[in-house]
Symmetry: D2
């Protein structure tokens, strides 16, 4: 580490996750954005990919990953899963630290193999990784060499599942229906994400049991239960064993750029004498996130616009006495708290900055 500002590099800087990192890192008072990486835009200036950054850091040109890693103290990887693990290995070998937005270091070796169908490419590095859901892993992150920043769907669903698990309200299965904006599918042109195919359209995809984020959400729920058993349901441990939790997660894509809203429904097992009410569940979710600067909990049902452009999460809860279902709702900006904002939040904690440094607390409305 140098004495001056930390030199940050961004791999995958021509994707949406990368743009969000660049936006935040250029305004981070403790960071110099040293290098940006992209194969598609190699050699071109930042504004070639990002017209909205025209005139800012016009000195920056996209470089290859070797040069980005060489120029950086910390490497943010906004690169595809599978392709990222070798880059992480390379960066660590060069003595750099990593904030990884890909899925490559989020799961245990066993879970990775189960959901991705092949062995983890760098299992020796997994012990270095800390899961970057800051609200639940804050104490583990300082000094982490790999911050494994959570996926966008997983973040929204996990923030809803965790307080239920902590309160013993998680039933046999949690139904996590998630609505997600189109930017979650990335920037590459594709038929189904073409404007004319996607506007005025809504559709489920990868129904329950088939989306890999399921493993992340279940792991968070399981870690909460394990931490609860240890006495503090908000001090999760990335690598501790945990109790299985079942989540039926079905994402739906809806015609908007940004935003995710997770509606998690479950029927507590011991529903009976102590039947929870909307008020009690709302109270326990509020208590669970007390002191978390990026989480709002309130009686109003969340909406994605309230968090679009920001790095915050908005939660609420509801109990349907008729059916015994407890619902928790969580809205985030998939590119904010669901990606770049959360990555910088994790970086801040890992590197000793105030947690919300350079983050967006307000977003914009409309």
């Amino acid at each position: 580490m140098t004495d001056g500002p930390i030199r940050a590099g961004v791999l995958g800087a021509s994707g949406y996750g990368g743009a969000g990192l660049v936006e935040r890192l250029v305004r981070h008072p403790g960071v110099t954005l040293a290098a940006i990486g992209s194969r598609a835009y190699l050699g071109k200036p930042l504004a070639a990919s990002w017209p909205h950054l025209a005139g800012l850091r016009s000195d920056l040109r996209f470089q290859d990953s070797d040069d980005v890693i060489a120029a950086s103290d910390v490497v943010f990887c906004a690169t595809p899963h599978g392709a990222t693990a070798p880059l992480v290995a390379q960066a660590l070998a060069a003595g750099k630290r990593v904030v990884d937005l890909s899925a490559d270091f989020r799961l245990s070796a066993a879970a990775y193999e189960e959901w991705y169908g092949h062995p983890h490419p760098h299992p020796e590095l997994l012990p270095e990784a800390r899961y970057g859901l800051v609200e639940l892993h804050r104490h583990e992150l300082p000094g982490a060499r790999i911050v494994a920043s959570p996926g966008c769907n997983a973040t929204a669903a996990s923030l809803a599942v965790a307080p239920l698990a902590a309160a013993g309200l998680l039933g046999e299965v949690a139904i996590a229906n998630v609505l997600t904006g189109v930017s979650g599918a990335g920037r590459s042109p594709s038929g189904p994400m073409h404007f004319s195919e996607m506007a005025e359209n809504a559709r489920p995809y990868k129904p329950a049991g088939t989306h890999r984020h399921t493993a992340e959400i279940e792991a968070v729920g399981g870690r909460v239960r394990a931490a609860l058993a240890r006495g503090d349901a908000k001090r999760l441990l990335t690598h501790a064993p945990f109790q299985p939790v079942l989540v039926a997660f079905t994402p739906h894509i809806v015609p908007m750029n940004r935003g995710i809203i997770a509606t998690v429904a479950t029927r507590p097992l011991d529903w009976g004498d102590r039947a929870p009410t909307t008020e009690t569940v709302l109270g326990l979710v509020t208590d669970y996130y007390a002191g978390d600067p990026l989480v709002d909990v309130g009686p109003e049902l969340p909406q994605t616009k309230a968090v679009a452009g920001s790095d915050r999460a908005s939660l609420s809860a509801h109990v349907d006495g008729r059916t015994g279902q407890v619902l928790v709702f969580c809205a985030i900006d998939n590119l904010g708290k669901g990606a770049a904002g959360q990555a910088v939040q994790g970086f801040n904690v890992a590197f000793g900055f105030a947690e919300t440094t350079a983050l967006s607390l307000t977003g914009a409305w409309p």
Copy 2:
């Protein structure tokens, strides 16, 4: 009934449901659109409310309800719930028949009072009503004096719930998460539906147990079970007693004009030796709707664009063995199969026309 074409009137013709009725009735070969009603546009020509109908039926001007009823053999009511029952009573007293798109004649007197908080205003007319979900009540509709056309959310969810109930796969509760386009909220200006508040926004509203369509969906499921016991799970009876069914229905509004997609998840009670698979569930849904001209079932997950502008429903199914959840998906156009299309479909059967007369089988893409 006259010898020539049936004279149809539309009350509430300046709302979205009314526009859809006008569009279909002007092209119906057995109908003359005789009169259109609207208080807001009283005395003005059709195109004052509907620029897209400029030049068509320029003879028509909006009239008050008395005049519309007087001029019609059949009165389509696309008027608000509560305000409609008296109009239906008036029309029936004048010897007319009614297709009612409001909620006023969809529930039993007891269920109405439970969900609306006051006694039904015209319980004496309830026995005249036949529930207009044609696929399930087709045999009941010929000659009906009141066709109680289902609500849009209820249609999508019910079409998904019914085959599950018929196959004995409906568990203790069905979680019905529904995404709906904005036109479902009607045409009246409102803060939350303002373009700048609604574009780039998605949000749940009326969470499980609070939306009145819940009663409709549960009634359909219960009627299927009762019909199943009688030996034909597709010959439902509007007024027969039925077994209770629990549905946790949570609608979400998403930024598109048209379309509803229902994702219904349930855990069959007797999951075990005969664990269903995606293929078996898909097969039974396909079989359940065999012969229904407006229902498509297939392995592709539905999307709203595939039915926007049409009067069709698109269904699929999926089984998650890990969690024991069976999912059925149903997409409709909330203003087509969810409103005007279904009303005209019900009218066709009630009045002896071919079921799809004047309906839209293709919609448009994109």
Copy 3:
């Protein structure tokens, strides 16, 4: 020609123009949709490309162009410019007639070479072509072997320019600013048309003098002047010489699926004693299109929603006395009157059917 229904084939049936043709031709009472062509979907059923047509004509599978031409009496070409001329030549050589939605037969050989940068590939066929802007070329179309159906931008702008030219109000130059929905760019995935790049975005492209549709618009204006000199400004001749007209046409893409609105502004040369007013210009536009079943003219400014899903055009006019500018506005559905609707309209006239057969007069709102 057979004695029964005309056998129609559609080349490029997996594109948006092709879908619109299929939708209209399946409901055309004088036509059998005999074959559909697509290289991308070769061998697959219609619904593989078009989920909204699931269940309709499930017998149809995409074929190669040879088979489509062989199976058809009339071939609709919704294929890319440049690639279409050889297909037209092939069809004509086989004794078939053609409705061409590409740009290949819209311009004279000289204009084609000027705007496309190379000689026309089949100049010998140009004399067969009739420009399919039916309102202005109706008398020329019966029996035409090639109907050269106009481009979407050109249709909107030309319908606005023509009555100005006919009234002698077209000044030295007409400024044609056009807003167009995204489907005008076709269905192929592309970076700039990706939902997340295009939603919440508006931008000009191909500014004045660089878009090839300019040549079409100028030709229409010039033909009107020539026809005016011959005594009937609505009986245009595709191949007659015409007086030059200057149009500065700048298209802008805006975030919606369908629709074009052209705002044409010009300063009449002889503005002075006989300064036109909004009323007089509105009157002359109304008169110019009197009797055209697909054109509405009125004092309300047009909006794209009023024509979306329909095959109609909506026009209005305005005069700004301060600046001497006369404005004419024209809204169409780029895929309706701007593409498939117009092509079928041209086909109807060319083949002796009533002009609006199988066309959409109502569209849908919202």
Copy 4:
């Protein structure tokens, strides 16, 4: 002026302009947001109107205008035209300074009466006003008691017109076609701005000569000519006499939340020997805004997404030699550089802060 941070109040804080002011002022290092005003939300907390600000400044409640003015050193008025002038008078009488986002102090008394149809309500205060288009009036603003912040359409069109006027390229008339997002129409529910009426719709409104922003644009052009005659075309004087300029300004509303793009076309009078080219015009626009930190000029045509969420303007130019038209394009965020951003920029210059303090330089993409 106090010794500590400047106490700022925002009137109309529950509208979109007000929200943008609150967002920027809470992060302004030289400002304390002291009070917020709203009649509709009187007594309620900030988050009642603005869910995206939940948790920030939860101490703030909406107050009436008297209390806001009393609590502030500077009052930002994001209130309707007509209603604002008396509030400005009240604030000035109380010794406060004002940044006015309404139209009340933008025009001369004569122009105001011409375009608004009645005499200016406080002509005695007009000499206090300085027009807050900072790029052109920067030298006039320090110490101003009233900063009259320009309208959103006027800002986009004026930034395009000014360099043309400065270069002597403005012809007899400039055609200003403007596309604007829906938030420009304000937050009040209205029929035409209802999501279902506005999504998938584009339409012109207030065609050339009827929109009051015309007067602002023409005044800017005229002031540039007057300043040019004085020797510096970027040092405009709010109250100096100026030469008439004609602009045919037609706004079009398009279905997006934010953003304006102005396409200004004109035919230089002395087109001939010194015919401009795209390169020369681009060069002179670039030179004109050299040193302006919020204006980008480049060869790529602007797009609204590049400036959405930011306080910047993006310009380009094009020359069509065929028609002699010179085009300048300008994109802004109507709520950023078109409203709150520009108001804070003007405040910064008026109060001695660095011009871009608290402004958004990056926006967000997508």
